[in-house]
Symmetry: D3
Subunit: 132 residues, 6 copies
Amino acid sequence: MNAERKEPNYLFTEKQVADKSEIARRFLDGRTRLNANVDKADNFLVKRFYNIDHNTYLEGALPAKYKELMGLVASACLRCDDCVHYHMIQSYRLGVARSEQEESLNVALVVGGSIVIPHLRRAYELLAELYG
Amino acid sequence: MNAERKEPNYLFTEKQVADKSEIARRFLDGRTRLNANVDKADNFLVKRFYNIDHNTYLEGALPAKYKELMGLVASACLRCDDCVHYHMIQSYRLGVARSEQEESLNVALVVGGSIVIPHLRRAYELLAELYG
Amino acid sequence: MNAERKEPNYLFTEKQVADKSEIARRFLDGRTRLNANVDKADNFLVKRFYNIDHNTYLEGALPAKYKELMGLVASACLRCDDCVHYHMIQSYRLGVARSEQEESLNVALVVGGSIVIPHLRRAYELLAELYG
Amino acid sequence: MNAERKEPNYLFTEKQVADKSEIARRFLDGRTRLNANVDKADNFLVKRFYNIDHNTYLEGALPAKYKELMGLVASACLRCDDCVHYHMIQSYRLGVARSEQEESLNVALVVGGSIVIPHLRRAYELLAELYG
Amino acid sequence: MNAERKEPNYLFTEKQVADKSEIARRFLDGRTRLNANVDKADNFLVKRFYNIDHNTYLEGALPAKYKELMGLVASACLRCDDCVHYHMIQSYRLGVARSEQEESLNVALVVGGSIVIPHLRRAYELLAELYG
Amino acid sequence: MNAERKEPNYLFTEKQVADKSEIARRFLDGRTRLNANVDKADNFLVKRFYNIDHNTYLEGALPAKYKELMGLVASACLRCDDCVHYHMIQSYRLGVARSEQEESLNVALVVGGSIVIPHLRRAYELLAELYG
């Protein structure tokens, strides 16, 4: 079963987020630099995977913003700071409220347990910069 | 930051789900039987944890249905069939469409990788019984 | 830094545990049957690993019973029912009280989160048979 | 950097493996039945993911047999019995020797620790049926 | 089943530990700073979770020191350096001997496998500062 | 079943790798320094574990280079940068081609999902330094 997919409508550019938050800026710069190196390798399967990954978060049966928040929950449960940062930034760009980000992190905390707490602390630091 | 929390409005009872799906019925019966045994132990911390767990999925800043779907994504990424079944049943009871469940499972598949596939297969079996 | 290691003093044999609990009996029988097959393969590294594994839980700087309970916590956090059963049986054989097993499971629940709950339910079923 | 990809040359069909091993037969039958149900859903992203998954294990810069064994190591480390069975069967079909499967499982055991042991026991049961 | 819970008796304050070990000092300072930010958000569920987390490690059926060591084993198995540092510091504050910390790390190493080794190396660095 | 084990034949020393790649140099230096501290502790079980770990990757039924690549796949799936770096360096020292490293990382990416991507990016940075 497949809903039509289309690009979400971002309220903010990555540049605007980077101007607002130093943590976001550092993350986005590092990601851009490292991805350029991955792109240069031109690996067929990596490109296919990046493409499928991009498609997953498009507008569809579920609004893009909820799928970014799902990506956030999964990233926090699996405890990857880079992925947590990425989905928090994407959610912010799609107009997600701070309280919605906090409730998503609550799901991750309860499902994933206290081992998630160090990542929660760093996520709240980014929240403060984005919404402060 | 805290939104008011309240119980969600279920469209179906657990009994109605169990009547519709044999997989759901077996899961719910086993869960009821084993939880009765946990309740008998009356462990303070377990009760507190169950309570916090219940509070996490109430209506709040985010609609309950999206939090159940987040629980589904987390459960599928962390690869726990019981938890996947539980959140799929809860989502169904809250009126989530099949296409919304599938898109949530897509997030879990892409974040969690092919190791999620055996759980995806079993999840689709439950989807077929619930929505078929 | 190394304390002297020696075999712990078991209060009960595996046979006595199997006679008391049907869950334990099934686990121990399956484990014996499958290990016999592993032993037949006579794989050098597997034997070395089993040996180091055995050494880990001997009496040492820490009493064996606390190391079995640590094994229980690790197993519950990493969500392996077989390993949970094994360390609960070993702890029982070493005279660990039910309340001590419950507190160990509480550590696992809080560190590991709600994803541990299905394993907790099955662990409490074994507790009921062992201490009931 | 991309080597040419092509289908590997299987020495045995799935049917021949199922005739040799009861464990393999049950796994393959269950997988076929559940995949038919997934296929019916015709989910765009799932199909894309299955396609990329298939491409990963083709002959390329690395012989297919070593990539199946890598899949086995990853599956055992991440502790998924279905995935372990699948890659052991695929490796067998590509002519991998029992000693090569055992050494791959050794890597998984040492990297992943004693939590892998219950899966190792079940893997050795399949080894005995395939190579016995 | 519930034993009475009470606060453990610490032999050292966090300040004394920070004075002894530079690694501990950096960890404790970062944690204090980031927790202040989490506290400011005043999220109901996070507060509840922190509260339950605190309760888990109190004196009870099991001495607090063994529960901190269980927290250490779980943290090392789940591979979280911050959590490993936290529980090592707490254990030290409760008078745990170095040999007891090492044996706990041995359980984590054997259960969790060689993937734990980088965390073990960093844990031994902290051991050297605390007990050196 | 056990093949004869013997030390693999390295094409490059660790020193030569460190001279070629700054990332490798920093990793190897840190590892040497921290391991010296672990060695000083002279813990019986840690030494046994290190020994078994060393034995796992010797030439045997499988060529050492494929076992190092299996270690790489496992490390990337379990998401440990230090372990990823270690096995990439070892593979390079054994003459593994860049395309072989990339295909191994593809297996890890597909099995482990997008949560592996941040580690993949850092792995490609090391690839560029080693093979660039």
